[in-house]
């Protein structure tokens, strides 16, 4: 079969730059939205998975229904657990048991606007229990000091330089000094601000803590569950940290579904828009196509040329979206209630989004091409 040369398709594309930009822009928008939805979903799922250490167990108050923010536990529980449960991980000769407060409040510089942030009241043991966290610079908080996660400045709407050691933060009517910066790669902790447990209890006027996070060594999560069931006077429930964050991920599932639905609806809209634009583009060329058929090229050759044209424009749009996503989406932080995570472009998302973007062109061109090439040759040659 004789095919039309590829440069015929390229020249046709450049014949109307406005139309080409319209088609490429529509494809780019769809691919960008798919990449955004995919990176949002991947980033959130990965952060929740990374935040839950399978060796850690969270002790919450029995009536808190699994929410750390609603939980209220006696501060003495940490000591009782350490003394009662054998086989806990040891750190510097002590059982790795971390009493913590998780508190959401307005935080900001003394002379600037305040924003909602997640505060965690901790003792130095928190760095041993949450194994993924490490101080990058500075020292653990003491007194009215805080350490900030690497992404906390984004949550507060500040530049990274504004949240270096020595910076001041105002929260709960008190001024705290940043004593360090910690990293917790891929987890929701990176968007948090960690304060000294005692200082945060005083600032928030709390007499109870939110949770006790226990790191198991030879003990198993079942031992902590048994402890909670035996010590009914403490009114605790025990949940594996990985299960807790898996449950949180399920809580955000409707948001992820909405993101995919929005992307899907816009993709459908773009497909119909593409149909319309291709129809207009090919309809004006039906006489030209008929002439090509008249000089001996088969219908399939013209159709393939149309599909090449559509695929080229989809390729331009998809590549533009890919570069925009790499530059503007990958690694950007997103704040959700309870933490911060990074948008993550993974191979699966890239393949699916680019594949769909490339398919949009031929799909959009199929019906207009058929309408353009189906009329009998004599009537097509006489058409305007």
């Amino acid at each position: 079969m004789r095919l039309l040369p590829l440069d015929y398709a390229v020249r046709n594309l450049l014949r109307d730059p406005g139309r080409m930009l319209q088609l490429a822009g529509g494809t780019a928008l769809v691919v960008l939205l798919l990449l955004a939805a995919g990176s949002f979903s991947t980033g959130m799922r990965a952060a929740m998975q990374a935040s839950g250490d399978p060796a850690n167990v969270i002790l919450l108050s029995a009536g808190s229904e699994g929410g750390i923010e609603r939980s209220s536990v006696d501060p003495g529980v940490a000591g009782i657990v350490a003394a009662s449960v054998a086989g806990l991980r040891q750190s510097a000769g002590q059982s790795a048991v971390s009493p913590e407060i998780v508190h959401m409040t307005l935080v900001g510089p003394p002379d600037g606007p305040a924003r909602q942030a997640v505060l965690r009241g901790v003792t130095p043991m928190a760095f041993a229990v949450h194994r993924g966290t490490r101080l990058v610079v500075g020292h653990p908080p003491q007194g009215d000091e805080v350490v900030v996660g690497r992404l906390a400045h984004r949550r507060l709407g500040l530049a990274a330089d504004d949240l270096q050691p020595g910076a001041l933060l105002r929260l709960e009517g008190r001024t705290f000094t940043v004593s360090g910066i910690f990293a917790a790669p891929g987890t929701v902790y990176e968007g948090e601000i960690w304060a000294d447990l005692g200082a945060l209890m005083a600032a928030t006027r709390r007499s109870t803590i939110s949770t006790v996070v226990v790191a198991c060594g030879s003990a198993s999560p079942a031992d902590l569950e048994a402890f909670a069931a035996m010590r009914l006077d403490l009114e605790l429930s025990a949940i594996a940290e990985s299960d807790y964050y898996a449950e949180r991920a399920r809580f955000f599932a409707p948001i992820r579904a909405m993101a995919w639905l929005t992307a899907g609806l816009i993709a459908a809209g773009a497909l119909f828009g593409g149909l319309n634009t291709f129809h207009a583009a090919f309809a004006t060329r039906s006489r030209e196509a008929a002439t090509i058929l008249a000089i001996g090229f088969p219908r399939r050759a013209v159709a393939i040329s149309f599909f090449c044209e559509a695929t080229l424009v989809a390729l331009v749009g998809s590549l533009a979206a890919l570069f925009a996503a790499i530059a503007g989406l990958d690694g950007q932080s997103i704040d959700v209630p309870g933490g911060t995570f990074m948008l993550t472009l993974e191979a699966g998302t890239l393949t699916a989004s680019l594949g769909l973007g490339l398919m949009l062109g031929p799909l959009g061109a199929m019906l207009p091409a058929w309408r353009c090439l189906s009329p009998p040759l004599p009537s097509a040659l006489r058409s305007a």
Partner: protein, 158 residues
């Protein structure tokens, strides 16, 4: 293939059940049982006790991999739309606090056996049981732990 799987699962279930002491589940109800609230008034560690209660008092009364469950005084069971009135979910915490107890089946070292009691001997959340055993060390009016020697499941209320 499926028959082998069923056989393996049956053997595993039998081995798991074999860890529980023989004679733990009794068909005859032990006499002179008292309710959980009454049993908690002055528990004496080491004393023999026979307690009647409902398996529950919390959302998950059984512990996976440990021979341990919690019971609640039968007066606190309520009819709730959620269908888990045995968990005490409809009760004020201060009422629930004084009406629950833990039941354990222990090994020679005094630790709960490494098996679950869920569904063993027909035990399920919400089931009424009479537990005969001894008051475990550390029990006091705020905390009652019973080391069970005999468990009888009461028939369903009509």
């Amino acid at each position: 293939m499926i028959r082998h799987l069923i056989l393996a699962l049956s053997v595993a279930a039998l081995l798991s059940a074999a860890e529980l002491p023989t004679g733990l589940f009794v068909a005859q109800a032990p006499p002179d049982a008292v309710d959980v609230i009454a049993a908690r008034t002055a528990p004496t560690p080491g004393a023999t006790v026979t307690v009647r209660g409902i398996i529950g008092g919390r959302q998950k009364p059984f512990v996976d991999g440990r021979a341990l469950f919690t019971i609640m005084d039968r007066s606190l069971v309520c009819e709730t739309a959620c269908g888990t009135g045995w968990s005490g979910c409809g009760q004020p915490p201060e009422d629930l606090r004084g009406a629950v107890a833990s039941v354990q089946v222990v090994d020679a070292a005094g630790k709960p056996l490494l098996t679950t009691l869920a569904e063993a001997g027909g035990l399920i959340p919400g089931a009424a049981v009479i537990v005969q055993g001894t008051v475990a060390a550390g029990s006091n009016p705020a905390l009652l732990v019973i080391t069970a020697q005999a468990i009888h499941r009461l028939p369903e209320a009509p």
